[in-house]
């Protein structure tokens, strides 16, 4: 084209980024790769597969499908390297992580171009977003490694971490996984996605250049089968980012194994536009929400909710903006939307829109479409919440839309989903924005922005979007464990049918406590509670699944507790302590008799102290303003999990119950407590204390019965946010398996309940979700 001709059209013209250096890097290793195990890049294995460029279909390289022996070698290498790596201390680890960051930065362009070839994302995104964020993640975590020993003195590395990352942000997700693991003193075996393993293999080069000790980072390539081997390998933690379906499989596979688990899964994140928003900016935000990375983003703002009064105008503007998007060669610097990662994914997207789109109106951007693995930016308006495409994750450049009338309705629609990863809201009214943000079921909320990420800010979801956070101190915490004393063993009395005499006096009927009322068991059965000498101590109701149902329902109704002030919750906890103290001798006697010990007075006193502790904490477990590189606030808010089901310890019948109840309700949760199976009468006495202490109905519910029967019901209940198992470790598997359906959090914890580990921040963390609320500002 001549200059004169271009003057007529004023087109952009091509602006290609050269792929030559990246191709040369691949050629230099002969175009075929093995794994990275024990510091060595292994030879190509017996079974290989193609790594292709989705934009062109060309084969980029041969990768090796790992077999069991590869995975075993990698895990062994990591195991062998771990003690020394942790033993290096924070400062030495920080130096290595810092070196990795520097080296990645030096090779930033090579990483960017390689990522584009492998994944199909536009060079602009790889160059300006993926790679800089990955580098930043290592810098930030060099800092956490440096500070960890001083700032988290009671935590240490978990051990060997198996990490499985997806294909949408190959290097960035690798960074999110490896940086915190290494900072905390863990070693890792990472499996990149089979579509996109090349930057992970380049990262292996970086590890070598940085002189990272052998075995600290290991990388094995291959498909989901390799992932399965890794999940089943003798590792101490699995960290997974990917689909909800696979996350669920991993939850089941690791159930009862004692492996720590964090899952960052799918989403159908709402993007709410209020009528007082800067509409043009909200539309530009949508470009970054749903057309970023071809919409293949777990936290993509894929569900547009627009206030009815501006919806028509908004949609018109949006369509005009869509027509301006440039779809094409991902290596062109002026391309907005690149190639879908693989023809399989393209087919999935196409099929979903073809099948579900007719429930609304489908608008494809009027843009020049290249041949090949591309899907046009798409908007589907007029969908009702019931439409399948409003509910299911498409994982492509497809935005679905509906309207709302009021802020409350916006919140209801936003939360009308199984997922809870991210949410975006646009409004110029700070009252409205800060009113709505805490109500959204999501781990991340962006106000007047979208898809902002930073190493200092936690990222992760609630509900079926998974659990655990990546980034910030909370992210590091997920790669650590506490050293805690082994719990004491408990003597549980065996029933002796021969000895049926009662305690005498007027019969006291221990009931359950549901919704602020003493209730009889649904099944109509009671169980005998015996003293260690076999004597009958009394009866408690034999709880069943319907009692759990009723208790959870009562707990759900008491949602107002979550928004009471910390001060009010503290007052009530103090009042509980006060009223317990009044009846202290009675409780002490009861405990002594039930457990045939003389620890009753100590246990009551410890319980009162613990109630005081959490009353104190109720208004002091502060969130944080994160140090993100942005003119704005990134607030890490501590929000209650919701309804927590807790299986109280067998031993310490009162203190164990308080140890679960107090931190949970101090943070604004409601609880369903299954008291000590052996010694439940301390709990049933305790509800009388609750009744006299202004605890609102439904905030605390007590269901007595057999823990092994009640636990899976709690774990499977969709309205329960988390299950704490403080009793029999044999129930862990049952609970974790049952939790997989809804991917709720679980916490297995045992300790000496009167010891230092029996209370503190680890309980508060379990009782809260960190929600990161981003609020950029400026006039």
């Amino acid at each position: 084209m001549t200059v004169q001709e271009i003057l007529e059209t004023m087109e952009y013209g091509p602006a290609p980024e050269s792929a030559a250096p990246a191709r040369k890097w691949i050629e230099d290793v002969g175009g075929a790769f093995g794994h990275f195990i024990g510091g060595v890049l292994t030879d190509t294995g017996a079974q290989t597969f193609d790594s292709t460029n989705p934009a062109t279909g060309e084969v980029l390289a041969q990768l090796t499908q790992a077999d069991q022996s590869d995975v075993d070698s990698a895990v062994t290498a990591a195991r062998n390297a771990q003690p020394a790596w942790e033993g290096l201390g924070g400062h030495q680890r920080a130096q290595f992580i810092y070196a990795i960051a520097r080296l990645m930065q030096k090779h930033a362009r090579l990483f960017s171009v390689l990522e584009v070839l492998d994944n199909g994302k536009p060079i602009r995104e790889a160059r300006d977003i993926d790679i800089p964020l990955a580098v930043r993640h290592f810098y930030y975590h060099a800092g956490l490694a440096q500070l960890m020993a001083r700032e988290m003195p009671d935590r240490r590395a978990i051990g060997v971490c198996g990490q499985i990352v997806p294909w949408n942000f190959p290097l960035l997700m690798l960074a999110w996984k490896i940086a915190p693991a290494l900072a905390a003193g863990n070693t890792v075996v990472l499996k990149p996605a089979e579509y996109t393993s090349l930057t992970a293999l380049l990262f292996a080069n970086i590890c070598q250049e940085a002189g990272l000790p052998s075995g600290v980072v290991n990388i094995v390539t291959g498909d989901g089968e390799v992932g399965r081997m890794l999940v089943e390998a003798p590792v101490d933690k699995i960290a997974f980012t990917g689909s909800t379906a696979v996350g669920r499989e991993i939850r089941r596979a690791t159930a009862g194994s004692g492996k720590a688990l964090t899952l960052e899964l799918g989403g159908k994140s709402p993007y709410i536009v209020f009528d007082d928003a800067d509409l043009d900016s909200a539309i530009e935000g949508l470009v970054d929400a749903i057309w970023f990375n071809q919409g293949q983003v777990c936290c993509a703002g894929s569900r547009l909710l627009v206030q009815e009064g501006v919806a028509e105008r908004f949609h018109a503007k949006l369509k005009a903006r869509m027509d301006k998007l440039r779809v094409g060669d991902p290596l062109d610097k002026s391309v907005d939307v690149g190639a879908v990662v693989d023809p399989v994914q393209l087919q999935t997207i196409t099929k979903m829109v073809d099948e579900g789109g007719s429930e609304g109106e489908v608008y494809h951007a009027q843009v020049q479409m290249p041949e090949g693995c591309y899907y046009p930016p798409t908007l589907i308006t007029g969908l009702a919440p019931a439409a399948r495409l409003m509910q299911d994750e498409i994982f492509g450049p497809v935005l679905v839309s509906t309207t709302f009338r009021t802020p409350d309705e916006a919140v209801a629609l936003a939360n009308n989903t199984r997922y809870g990863l991210a949410a975006t809201l646009w409004s110029e009214n700070v009252n409205l924005a800060l009113h709505v943000a805490p109500k959204l079921a999501a781990g991340v909320v962006w106000v007047n922005a979208t898809n902002l990420f930073d190493a200092a800010a936690g990222f992760g979801g609630v509900r079926e979007s998974g659990f655990g956070r990546e980034g910030g101190w909370e992210g590091l915490y997920a790669y650590t464990r506490a050293d805690i004393p082994e719990p004491v063993s408990v003597h549980v009395p065996e029933p002796s049918p021969a000895d049926l005499h009662t305690l005498g006096g007027i019969d006291r009927t221990a009931k359950m406590y549901i919704g602020g009322k003493q209730t009889r068991p649904d099944g109509g059965y009671s169980r005998a509670i015996r003293l260690p000498n076999g004597a009958l101590a009394g009866h408690v109701g034999e709880g069943n699944r319907k009692d759990i149902r009723n208790a959870v329902e009562a707990a759900e109704k008491a949602s107002g507790w979550a928004t009471t002030t910390g001060h009010s919750r503290a007052q009530i906890l103090y009042f509980v302590a006060e009223n317990l103290a009044v009846r202290g001798n009675e409780f002490a006697d009861r405990i002594n008799r039930l457990t045939s010990s003389d620890s009753g007075v100590d246990e009551v006193n410890a319980s009162i102290a613990r109630l005081f502790s959490y009353a104190a904490w109720a208004d002091k477990f502060d969130g944080a303003a994160k140090g993100v590189p942005l003119r704005g606030l990134a607030l890490g808010l501590h929000e209650p999990v919701g309804v927590i089901g807790a299986l109280c310890p067998t031993e310490a019948p009162l203190l164990g119950l308080i140890s679960a109840l107090a931190p949970a309700i101090a943070m604004g949760n409601r609880v369903v407590l299954v008291p000590s199976e052996a010694f439940p009468l301390a709990a049933t006495d305790f509800y009388q204390v609750l009744e006299t202490s202004d605890v609102p109905a439904g905030v605390v519910n007590i269901v007595t019965g057999t823990a092994s029967e009640l636990a899976p019901v709690l774990a499977a209940h969709a309205a329960v946010g988390s299950v704490w198992n403080f009793t029999d470790a044999g129930l862990d598997k049952l609970i974790e398996e049952a939790s997989a359906a809804t991917l709720k959090r679980t916490w297995n914890f045992r300790t000496a309940w009167d010891g230092a580990a029996g209370e503190g921040r680890h309980f508060l963390r379990a009782a809260t979700e960190v929600k990161t609320v981003w609020v950029p500002y400026g006039v």
Partner: protein, 341 residues
């Protein structure tokens, strides 16, 4: 595009239409006749600074123009320059030199190598006292003379004198009048006063085109920029312009984005295209490309022509000349290889 905006003062509309496109060969659209002040619309406008800044910060990474395309875009940038001198020490001689540069902004061998001819700047922009000299120097070039007016740059001289100044400049041959608005009307939210002032300035311009300088660096917040833009367009501005070049902060990309969006909204609702002129602080060829890309993205190709887009700049041309020579020769250039103004 011929339809009247219902409710616009009839005599105003017809007078402005009479102005038409006379004297401005590159103008092909119907002039914006203005419309009654619509305060609901004005007050509904929002401008979220952080989002706007993100858009502007990422744009250069999203749009890249290379090789022949870059050369063409830089030639187009020259065609959109209001080559400007607004100094206390301006003389007729200085203005004549500037006009000569406006007639031939590109060294002839470079123009030839690029395969373009007849390239001139968009206009010459001077103070009133230099208008006559400029008009004389530009005779038969087709290049219009723009005069800054209405007590430029502060706009705080007696109101009747400000209005009269427009008439004087038009009489002296200025085809474009760059007026300054009263910033205090914006800062105190007196939109009616701003509208009335702008409408009167427009009337005083007659057939000459009027550019409304908002002095955005003195308006305090981006939302004010958006609102002032709308009010000036409603009152009949042909162009809206960022700055006098004399404020502490002049043209910026965020301010540009706000004003472009206001222009787009105005076009969507009324059908009339209003032009845009960033002024002050744009001195690099690379910046010019970013501005053009932003205009192309937000408003479309139609606005990339000099009848709807101008750079108010004095030193930008020099950098563009150097970049174009680099394009032609492959070697980096320097200022003394290009004729000065």
């Amino acid at each position: 595009m011929e339809s009247d905006i219902t409710g616009a003062p009839a005599e105003m509309a017809s007078e402005w239409k009479q102005g038409g496109t006379a004297g401005l060969p590159q103008v092909s659209d119907t002039r914006n006749p203005g419309q009654p002040l619509d305060l609901d619309w004005v007050m509904s406008v929002q401008a979220n600074r952080s989002a706007i800044e993100r858009r502007c910060a990422t744009l250069p990474g999203r749009r890249s123009v290379k090789k022949e395309w870059q050369a063409a875009w830089l030639v187009q940038a020259i065609r959109c320059i209001d080559l400007t001198t607004l100094s206390g020490d301006d003389t007729e001689g200085r203005v004549r030199r500037l006009c000569a540069k406006a007639r031939q902004p590109l060294r002839s061998d470079l123009a030839e190598a690029l395969g373009v001819s007849g390239i001139t700047t968009g206009a010459i922009c001077v103070y009133h006292d230099m208008v006559a000299a400029a008009v004389d120097a530009l005779r038969e070039s087709g290049i219009p003379v723009a005069a800054v007016s209405t007590g430029f740059p502060a706009g705080l001289s007696p109101y009747h004198l400000r209005v009269a100044e427009i008439g004087e400049s038009v009489a002296a041959g200025a085809k474009e009048i760059d007026i300054v608005i009263s910033r205090r009307h914006v800062l105190t939210g007196n939109w009616r006063a701003l509208f009335d002032e702008m409408a009167e300035f427009r009337r005083a311009c007659g057939a000459a085109h009027v550019k409304a300088i908002l002095a955005t660096g003195e308006l305090g917040e981006l939302r004010n920029v958006a609102r002032a833009s709308l009010v000036c367009m409603m009152a009949g501005a042909d162009f809206i312009k960022t700055s006098t070049g004399k404020e502490a902060v002049n043209a910026t990309l965020p301010v540009t984005l706000v004003m472009l969006r206001a222009i787009r909204e105005y076009h969507e609702r009324t059908g009339y295209r209003v032009g845009y002129k960033p002024a002050g602080g744009i001195s690099k060829a690379k910046d010019a490309l970013t501005y053009l890309a932003l205009v192309k993205e937000e408003l479309g190709d139609r606005w990339l022509q000099p009848d709807l887009f101008r750079f108010g700049a004095s030193s930008l041309l020099g950098d563009i000349e150097r970049q174009l020579e680099h394009h032609v020769t492959g070697a980096y250039s320097t200022s003394w290889r290009h004729p000065m103004a």
